[in-house]
Amino acid sequence: MDLPGLRVLTLVSTVLLGIGLFGPCMTIQPSFGEYHWLVEYFKPDTAKPTTYSIWSGILHLFRDGDVLVGIIVFVFSVVFPVWKLCVLWAGANWEESKPAGYGVLKLVANLGKVSMLDVFVVALLVLAIKGLPGGTKVLIGWGVWAFCGSILISMWVSMKLAHLYGKRGQ
């Protein structure tokens, strides 16, 4: 694939990341077993389903005092993917055959392997499959698929760009 194609894919990945960060990521449907109706009456807010996006989840972590976890999730789910896309966007717009930023591009391609995607997806799957006591369910929202799509596309673009500039430089 040539540079214009990679530019389009980078933009697609960017939009998907935006959707993935702010779109519904998971819905927690609380259930209190046979006592659900009683909780529904006394604590209606507790019994209501709650939908979180990655962004609102991070804000909740900060609000609940889990600052360290919040920072880790923020860095790996927001800062790193956004920085990566900025580098990819720059890489897809370089005009030199082997630009000075090639090293950064290679770094991005390698760091992609340690993005939070794996941990994130596995954690969600465990929650979704195992469920929670009392019949509480975790439903995965479409935001997760957008997030996964963005990460996978950006990984592919970074590899392609690194490969392309690597070949040009030889």
Binding site: L11, E34, Y35, W37, Y41, L85, W89
Partner: protein, 216 residues
């Protein structure tokens, strides 16, 4: 590496998507919740029962005189006597009869001049054996249908284990009942000071039903 502001286009795009989501979620929350605002059929306290509707009816309070009325040993004259030989108050129990059938029997209230019953309660033994609890299973009331000229009969007695001495028998026309608590006239019932009957519409949102059951 030369930095250009155009390199920040992805960041701007993501911010734009975030702003769109933020705007959409605020727009959604501004929409009225039609389900919550939907008018509910008249089930409020004080409203009359509606023909053809099902209702939960249960006695919630019976207060007896401090002494019972009994025929004297010699003659037909009624005289006041203690409820129980050992001087304890009556063990009040009651039932409701509708269309010739007993449709509800209360638990006995030992040694009480004022017996009260809650329309909601849990049968723990049943809960342990079945492991289940549902709203129907915790409502302690008769289910009746209000039909033209319908009535329920309340029979209360002193359940002392060996004999059952009638305290009162009162016919309650359903047309005289309102939703909520109803104080029944006891002028013709010499052994009773107060009777309160609860009437609640059966078909209504579960949360409202629980509220009415718990508030009364």
């Amino acid at each position: 590496v030369k930095f250009k502001t155009s390199h920040l286009l992805p960041l701007l795009l993501i911010c734009l998507v975030g702003a769109i989501f933020f705007g959409l979620s605020n727009w959604d929350s501004a929409e009225p919740n039609n389900e919550e605002d939907a008018p509910v059929a008249p089930r409020v306290e004080g409203a009359k029962l509606e023909l053809g509707e099902d209702y939960y009816i249960c006695p919630v309070l019976i207060e007896t005189n401090p002494q019972r009325l009994a025929r004297s040993w010699f003659g037909d004259k009624l005289e006041s006597k203690a409820w129980d030989i050992n001087g304890t108050a009556p063990d009040i129990q009651c039932n409701l009869t509708w269309n010739g059938n007993v449709v509800f029997t209360s638990s006995p209230k030992a040694d009480s001049l004022i017996a009260t019953w809650s329309p909601i309660g849990t049968d723990v033994a049943n809960l342990i054996s079945t492991g289940k609890i549902s709203l129907d299973s915790v409502i302690q009331a008769a289910t009746i249908k209000y039909e033209e000229g319908g009535s329920v009969t309340l029979l209360a007695w002193d359940n002392d284990g060996v004999t059952k001495e009638e305290i009162c028998r009162v016919d309650i026309p359903l047309e005289t009942l309102d939703i909520g608590e109803n104080v029944i006239a006891v002028d013709d019932l010499p052994q009773v000071l107060r009777i309160v009957i609860l009437a609640i519409a059966k078909v209504q949102p579960e949360a409202k039903l629980i509220q009415q059951l718990l508030m009364n």
